[in-house]
Subunit: 298 residues, 2 copies
């Protein structure tokens, strides 16, 4: 067994958001600074952390919330990253061009440089989550983003349901899987359905850690947000952000219903020792996976 | 929400094996008959249920255990299937030709006909599980096997660690995922490592149910089996066979350390209603999954 270790200290900021961009961002930044003070080298924010989750309804004016990359939000995060010598994974509603908007994760390295960005590849659309209206699907290729602490396999929310996405990131060399997220319950669902959904969500992500022998960080939004169109009862974002090790084991777990900054140590070298006892990558049947790049077998 | 349902009653036979082929098989058959009497329409046996797990060491004479398909074992299972009007998923150490042996799952339909077979695609090899010595990798294409009760996505043990395999089966139309299995602990591992391994194993399989919105049956071996080569301390097969629904929820769960026949009802129509609320198949990025058919990205 390999005796080396490369332990990093990581944090995630699970927060409830208000209809006040400056306040939301100030809260995130305060938490980043606090995490950095206790030694965190990487901090992950939730999906679209600066705003309320505006995709509950389709409103043309919401495109005014979008900004460029680089732009005001990445400039601000870059300053925080540099001043606190910490790698930040943030989330931007990106205006790439008139008519091309993305749901984009940005990575600021600890020197304040923009290490890279990832445009959400799998775009959901179901009642209360009208993302196909707002977000053009990403055209990146599940490439991890290089930083001073490792190669970050950053994806976003709905991507977390796709084993293909995590596997592509792993095959492209990711050291860790990271999912900024905004998911919650329909308040009308019964408790049994809510529990099944929450369990499914955590299990599918733990399975990506297991299948790829990679640590994983998932940062989710928390708190109730009303549907201003009044078509629905809004969303109860379910929090429960967590970090898992390369056997899918839970390293740290946040509560469901409160803002919380979660910290843990992650040993990036454990991936290699786990891959030695469970060598899944050795035995992949790449000759027989052709249907994976098709819509359906028939 | 769709109001139809197609409920089937299923059983799995988790058993400890002795060094006595006739006795092992008699026990399996008694359990199949008993399950059929209580209304089971499908029964799943564990991997290599007729024998001790002989892959703990590499012994040339062990190839004498192999047999053809059809052959004595499938003939016997066919008779049981027909007499009890039940679909059986069994497991055969198959002699396909001199020098070509497979670890093969067989499906007998309820009229006694051989509905199909699946030759294990992913072959493990690590201390105590020398399967690459015995088993030629399968050359099938993750095609489900058609039966009177549905299309069975039968795979075997090590396949269960590969999200690709489950996805291929789902894309090829499987109604249910089924894994005959033989997995256990190294008695020398500490309790924390044992728990991580057991949890990982159940989570990765529940994730296949979730990702594909399919029910799943996993039938594992139980009991300690010595390593006759005395290179190791043998294997404690960990039982814990289970059935899950299409949100990954546990429907039934066997104990770890005893022979047990587990039964549950499974509603095959629930797949469609779950796929309507979480439409993962709609949004797969088949344009971006190319690396999945490569060994590694670099």
């Amino acid at each position: 067994m390999k005796k080396n270790s490369k332990v990093i200290k990581v944090a995630l900021v699970q927060q409830g958001c208000a209809n006040n961009r400056e306040k939301n961002l100030a809260k995130s930044i305060a938490e980043i600074k606090s995490a950095a003070k206790t030694g965190a080298q990487l901090v992950v924010l939730q999906e679209l952390h600066s705003n309320l989750y505006f995709c509950q309804s389709e409103i043309t004016e919401n495109f005014d919330l979008a900004e460029t990359i680089p732009g005001p939000l990445t400039d601000k995060l870059a300053t925080v990253a540099k001043e606190n010598k910490i790698v930040i994974v943030g989330s931007v509603f990106e205006k790439r061009a008139a008519g091309i908007y993305h749901n984009t994760a940005v990575v600021l390295d600890s020197d304040g440089s923009l290490a890279g960005c990832y445009r959400k590849m799998h775009i959901p659309d179901d009642p209360g989550y009208y993302e196909k209206y707002y977000f053009t699907p990403g055209d990146n290729k599940f490439e991890p983003i290089n930083t001073t602490i490792g190669k970050l396999g950053v994806m976003i929310c709905w991507d977390q349901w796709y084993p293909e996405a995590a596997r592509c990131m792993a095959l492209n060399g990711a050291d860790i899987l990271i999912y900024p997220t905004a998911i919650g319950w329909d308040p009308e669902d019964d408790e049994a359905e809510k529990q099944r959904q929450l369990d499914s969500w955590q299990i599918i992500q733990r399975s990506h850690a297991i299948a790829n022998n990679l640590p994983l960080i998932c940062c989710n939004r928390t708190g109730h947000e009303a549907d201003i169109s009044e078509q629905s009862n809004g969303i109860d974002f379910w929090g429960n952000s967590f970090m898992a090790g390369p056997q899918g084991e839970i390293l740290a777990q946040a509560a469901g219903n409160k803002s919380q900054t979660l910290m843990s140590e992650i040993d990036l070298e454990r991936t290699e020792s786990v891959r030695r006892i469970w060598p899944f990558f050795r035995d992949r049947r790449i000759d027989a996976y052709g249907v994976l790049t098709k819509r359906f077998g028939k």
